[in-house]
């Protein structure tokens, strides 16, 4: 019987397999950041251990870093200590670090692919659940806890139980104006926040094949929000074209050998998945969340659901609590929801194509009165690229704030936070209670919806902008 893509990559990394034990997997790339590594380095020190493979390890600063005044000392003393701790640890153990201010600094999941370090068929780990992003290249990439960070630092391996596989087949083409973000939000709403538990998801089908690498990263990034530890997409010409010429991509004969291997990385026709979900792309439209977990979403054209409509008692209770927290009424059209803040950025939607898409919508328009819009590039390089294309000017002329790279308001570990009761449209990945600041309310959206929402002041799509233009008499 044939094997799935996940099984092929898994099998290629088994260091040791023994009855009654989890497989010991070799890890090709270990990404570090300041939040989940200090206790791991402490563990190494306590036990007199070293980093086994410095050449497969790289660190950057992202979660705590400010997006303003980055040349000044970090105001929050606790954040400062955490960043200084990473710097000390990297210096002591010899780990390559891209600190704040460095041109390669940025959100760890933007930095890896951008450097060409993330490649097909690799195992990639990081003490961050959105490591699933890297699966877009056809590798196995999963988030790990700090104990596992220490384990990988010390051994370059991880003992892991073999996951089940789930195919998510997206047939047809995404309609005009429907993005990868809308697709993944719709997938999560369909299978639920626990639907992917225990599985590696493989996204495939015509709609997936047509996506750019950056759009594929958006899809794989949010696999964890469906409960799956990893999501992956088979590499193809789009993948190879993205990688070729990047700083750490193979060169010369190595490139040819790599591509030959990468071409074998797809699920065999007779491979069997443990589960399969089929989505018709043509049925999708811009999708937003109304609740406090990423599975609580609906098409923008819909209304806030009535908790009473849920048959499952725990889902009903969750919807009731969500509406209470979000300050929403059942039956309220999603388009009527007014926001205070719009955030464009994060490892989900902070890459150059995302910024281009948002800029394209907002160009020549103004952010609505009373709305604050933050645009935070996913990495310093993405920021530079955007500036070279004049996107920063587009955003600033519209009244948005153009910031420096980092995780920023995705999780509010730096000063970029929502105030209690404030509501955001956010291109990030989690709408959990208080995620973007204590008492803050989050609606997850695509970059295009974020930009249109900023202009109209309520949840909206670019199509709504065009309709609003039509209603405005010429010359007014």
């Amino acid at each position: 019987m044939g094997r799935t893509l996940a099984e092929k990559v898994w099998d290629d990394h088994v260091v040791r397999r023994a009855e009654g034990e989890p497989d010991l997997l070799f890890i090709d790339l270990h990404l570090l950041h300041e939040v989940t590594s200090p206790q791991a380095f402490d563990g190494l020190r306590k036990n007199g251990r070293r980093v086994r493979r410095l050449d497969l390890t790289i660190a950057t600063e992202d979660h705590n870093t400010p997006t303003l005044d980055i040349d000044k000392p970090i105001a929050d003393p606790v954040s400062r200590v955490q960043l200084e701790t990473l710097r000390k640890n990297c210096a002591e153990f010899g780990v390559r670090l891209h600190p704040l201010g460095d041109v390669e600094q940025g959100v760890v999941h933007v930095v890896g692919p951008q450097l060409g370090l993330t490649q097909p068929g690799m195992t990639v780990v990081c003490g961050d659940s959105h490591t699933s992003t890297h699966g877009a290249f056809g590798g196995l990439a999963f988030g790990i806890g700090t104990s596992q960070v220490e384990h990988v630092l010390a051994t370059q391996t991880l003992p892991m139980a073999r996951p089940k596989t789930m195919a998510i087949t997206v047939n047809g083409e995404l309609p005009e104006g429907v993005t990868a973000k809308d697709l993944i939000l719709a997938i999560i709403a369909k299978i639920g926040t626990g639907g992917g538990q225990g599985y590696v998801l493989e996204y495939r089908g015509e709609a997936i094949e047509k996506l750019s690498m950056e759009a594929r990263m958006t899809i794989c990034n949010m696999s964890i929000e469906a409960g799956a530890r990893a999501g992956m997409i088979a590499p193809d010409e789009t993948t190879f074209a993205y990688l070729e010429g990047r700083p750490h991509a193979p060169k010369g004969e190595d490139w040819d050998a790599a591509v030959a291997y990468w071409k074998t990385l797809k699920s065999d026709d007779d491979a069997e998945f443990d589960a399969e979900v089929v989505i018709e792309a043509s049925e999708l439209s811009p999708f937003v969340t109304w609740g406090t977990n990423p599975g609580q979403g609906a098409p923008l054209s819909a209304s806030v659901p009535d908790p009473a409509s849920y048959e499952d008692a725990s889902e009903r209770l969750a919807a009731e609590k969500a509406l209470e927290y979000m300050g929403l009424e059942a039956g309220q059209p999603l388009r009527s929801i007014k926001v205070d803040t719009v955030f464009v950025g994060s490892c989900t939607n902070g890459r150059i194509e995302d910024l281009r898409a948002a800029a394209d919508v907002i160009k020549g328009r103004k952010v609505a009165d009373g709305v604050r819009m933050l645009v935070v590039p996913g990495s310093a390089r993405v920021g530079l690229q955007a500036v070279s294309e004049g996107l920063d000017v587009v955003f600033k002329e519209a009244g948005a704030e153009w910031r420096h790279a980092g995780c920023s308001m995705c999780l509010g570990m730096n000063p970029d936070q929502l105030a209690p009761g404030e509501r955001s449209a956010s291109t990030s990945n989690r709408n959990f209670e208080g995620r973007q600041g204590k008492g803050g309310r989050t609606h997850l959206v695509s970059p295009q919806v974020a930009a249109a929402t900023a202009v109209l002041g309520h949840l909206a799509s670019p199509a709504d902008l065009a309709a609003a233009d039509d209603r405005t008499p010429a010359g007014v």
């Binding site: 260091v15 040791r16 010991l24 070799f26 090709d28 790339l29 939040v35 989940t36 200090p38 206790q39 086994r52 410095l54 050449d55 497969l56 705590n64 606790v78 200590v81 955490q82 701790t85 390559r96 370090l117 490649q119 690799m122 003490g127 659940s129 790990i144 806890g145 700090t146 104990s147 220490e150 384990h151 010390a154 926040t193 626990g194 964890i224 929000e225 409960g227 530890r229 750490h248 991509a249 193979p250 190595d254 050998a257 790599a258 291997y261 977990n293 725990s314 889902e315 209770l317 969750a318 609590k321 999780l411 509010g412 570990m413 989690r430 959990f432 209670e433 208080g434 995620r435 204590k438």
Partner: protein, 197 residues
């Protein structure tokens, strides 16, 4: 890691599903660089409500958390496990845990027990009606016992062995050094390196 064999204690019934790790320990607590001192951050937002179950005087000293389905979703932060342990919890019972949280808990000696929702409902009813009711989580016998409840649970033999003996994963893996070195010798040259030689 501290070994876990069997534990008996009073419970905190938490009737919520999808308790994500941002609720268990909010992000601003993650700036700490230690493994301890997270107890005051546990469920920080909900604890502002004096009626929240953890704030009830009769729950003081409880050590078993009985939670709704999909406990521990979201971020990979191990701080969520440390916060529960720092607060005094020894075991968490739910019908479904998020994968990363579950893995983190078992690596720290916090026993996460999966029971069907019916049994969780029974434990909720029992411990809500009688806050002094005790729950025993017995890893040796692989069962949860309480008044009117005697429920076996599954845990893979390897995880159970590590927990019962309080074994450190890294030491076990390092015994396979020869296997790791042999694997490394076979890796193709096109695989990327972060450092240039």
């Amino acid at each position: 890691m501290e070994a876990f064999t069997t534990h008996t204690g009073r419970a905190v019934p938490l009737r919520r599903s999808n308790v994500d790790t941002d609720q268990i320990i909010p992000a601003h607590w993650l700036k700490k660089v230690t493994r301890d001192g997270f107890e005051d951050g546990l469920f920080e937002a909900w604890r502002k409500d004096p009626e929240f179950v953890l704030n009830r005087p009769e729950r003081e000293g409880a050590t078993v958390l009985v939670a709704g389905p999909d406990f521990g979703t979201g971020s990979s932060r191990e701080h969520a496990v440390w916060a529960l342990q720092n607060y005094g919890f020894k075991a968490v019972i739910s019908s479904r845990f998020a994968d990363i949280f579950r893995g983190n808990s078992l690596k720290n000696g916090l026993l996460t027990v999966v029971l069907d929702q019916k049994t969780v409902d029974a434990l909720w009813e029992l411990t809500e009606a009688d806050p002094t009711a005790e729950i025993t989580v017995d890893l040796e016998a692989r069962e949860v016992r309480a008044e009117g409840v005697n429920a076996p649970f599954e845990l893979d033999e390897n995880s159970r062995w590590r927990l019962l003996n309080g074994l450190d994963d890294i030491s076990i893996t390092l015994q396979n050094e020869a296997d790791i070195a042999a694997y490394e010798a076979t890796r193709p040259s096109f695989k990327p390196r972060t450092l240039t030689a």
